[in-house]
Symmetry: C2
Subunit: 398 residues, 2 copies
Amino acid sequence: MEYDYLLSLCVILLSTKFFGIISRRAQMPQVVGSLMAGLFFGPAVLGVITKEFFGQQICLMPSPLIKHLAELGVIVIMFTAGMETNLNELKSSGKSGFTVASCGVILPLCMGTGLMYLFDSEINLPSALFVGAVLTATSVSITVETLKEICKLQTQAGNIILAAALIDDILGLICLTLVTGMASGEINLFFVLVKIIAFFIFVGIAGLTYHVYMLWFDKVNGEKNLRRYPVIGFAFCMFIAWAAERLFGVADIIGAFAAGMIISMSPKGDYIAGKFDTISYLLLTPVFFANIGLEVTLQSMSWWLIFFTAVLVFVSVISKLAGCGLGARMCGISRHESFQIGLGMVCRGEVALIVANKGLAMHMIDEKYIGPIIIMVIICTIVTPIFLKNAFKDRETV
Amino acid sequence: MEYDYLLSLCVILLSTKFFGIISRRAQMPQVVGSLMAGLFFGPAVLGVITKEFFGQQICLMPSPLIKHLAELGVIVIMFTAGMETNLNELKSSGKSGFTVASCGVILPLCMGTGLMYLFDSEINLPSALFVGAVLTATSVSITVETLKEICKLQTQAGNIILAAALIDDILGLICLTLVTGMASGEINLFFVLVKIIAFFIFVGIAGLTYHVYMLWFDKVNGEKNLRRYPVIGFAFCMFIAWAAERLFGVADIIGAFAAGMIISMSPKGDYIAGKFDTISYLLLTPVFFANIGLEVTLQSMSWWLIFFTAVLVFVSVISKLAGCGLGARMCGISRHESFQIGLGMVCRGEVALIVANKGLAMHMIDEKYIGPIIIMVIICTIVTPIFLKNAFKDRETV
């Protein structure tokens, strides 16, 4: 029997919390801290240091149990994200948000794919598109937290950023679905599209069934047996996630996200979300992000790869800024506000990492690119709040 | 990539809840339902039925991810059990509880070990003792719930049963530690005892450190950043569990139990316990008990094994009833009340299954005995509430 997973979990819990607190003090989201914890205690940093000084590599290593928890963790993270996505909010700033998000998805996707062709002559289209898809998704949570902090969430720019970031997430996931479909050997794009549409019809029917059942159940059950709600909700999430992959070839995380959105609109949605909050921060989220950090081995970090990282960061910032800014201008928004919106959409987060992780697991993204992608996410996340604060400050003094 | 674990988790969550509700309606604890769910949807029942009718074995199978979750599950269950054990309560009915518990541990241990020698001529002492150890632990939760239901928890007999059941758990775990130590090739019982004592000293020091740190932390931190408490507590639990196995050769579950007891006496103990309640019922407990049911394959259930099961059930009931009854009589308790106490201690539950599972994982208990042990646990659990209600009713009419 293997017991070292206990010590690994202990180190992961404490270190992600500790690094998370530090990154929050530095005005960065806790996700950055969790990633740093994995990088620091994993083979990338501590592994190299201990090998250098003691001739032995003493560090956290990705183990099967940690990987399994991370696998379940991403399902729960996307499920929670779905529960937090409010469809009604989307409808209000819908039109301009949609234009901004669309432009902010297309440009990074194209530029990311082009970049891969430029750097890797042997790459095939699905693999290149996968890296492009990584660049598409803005992190909702990070954007919102920054805007809240500087009290600009209620401005026009703030509202559009919020709507665009939410739509962006969904578009990014549709991108992922398309790319995943292509990667699994379905060269027939039409067939992939038919399966995606079939999936959305399936989700609609399943969602309606769940909703009607819960309305009835809530009426019969009342305020007792509250534990049954999260259990049924979780089982529903698992079922949709499984059906997405097995029956429609759509990524499981999209199924989990859809299940979350359905549950948030059904009775006791907030109660269920509250319960998953605990399971998420207490175990699954730290393990998921730390595990991504653990997968990075910087030994393979050549000068060529460092150069690639720099270009990747540049492309990811510029493509979002230009794409979203252009989208905003198309909606007749002033140049300054368009710039603010573009900046607000730069930061990446969970979804980018989840897509990258998915690509790695499907052997679509080479292991050596995970390091640069993580660094890109960290840098985008660090610069966004700083730039955003400045951009909003400028306006006040004008 | 493997996605079927999603469907498995969906079925496990729904079926354990459904069977749990049925067993509660039938006045039985939900644990019985969870076990039944695993038995029913696993290879033991559904697997046999589908093979019979369709020529294919369609059922839940134990997968690595489920096993890993179950492994983590038992740590969390024992951690929660530790948090619910109130040391102060034990002190009040301490003396008689201790006598009852001791007799109720020694007799089942001896009779269980003897039984194994009788039925299996090739068995060695540690393996026989392991089955004996399975018979030692009364289920606190089941006993308490039954007594609460018939409003007899506050009687003298009720108090002694409660104290004895708690002490019994701890004695049972000490038994397990001794047996585990012997099984791992440490023939030197003296050395095993020294390591156990060293472990308790270690736990004492670690507990004191934790307690002092938390008193300081709670003073500094106040009512904000509440998430840090369960995270630190969980990390502490993981560390003690790991140290128990790695440094002292004591079972990891005992470490988790000890960590739980320490945390319950420290600041925000109740808050931490509440958080683990969620993580436990929403994921880990159902998976753990269903997984035990999944491990059973009744195909190997020969007539000989059915006979063995019957004798095992008989021995487990009689040894507890006689042992605890005798212990109660030794404390000068009336014959009728001694009988009630003995009956109240008959039911087995989580700890018996956990010990059996541990034995299976250590290759100390043969796979074929798991079925009989589960059946024994289920029968003991079903008969206890029925007998107990009658025994208390008799008294009232007298």
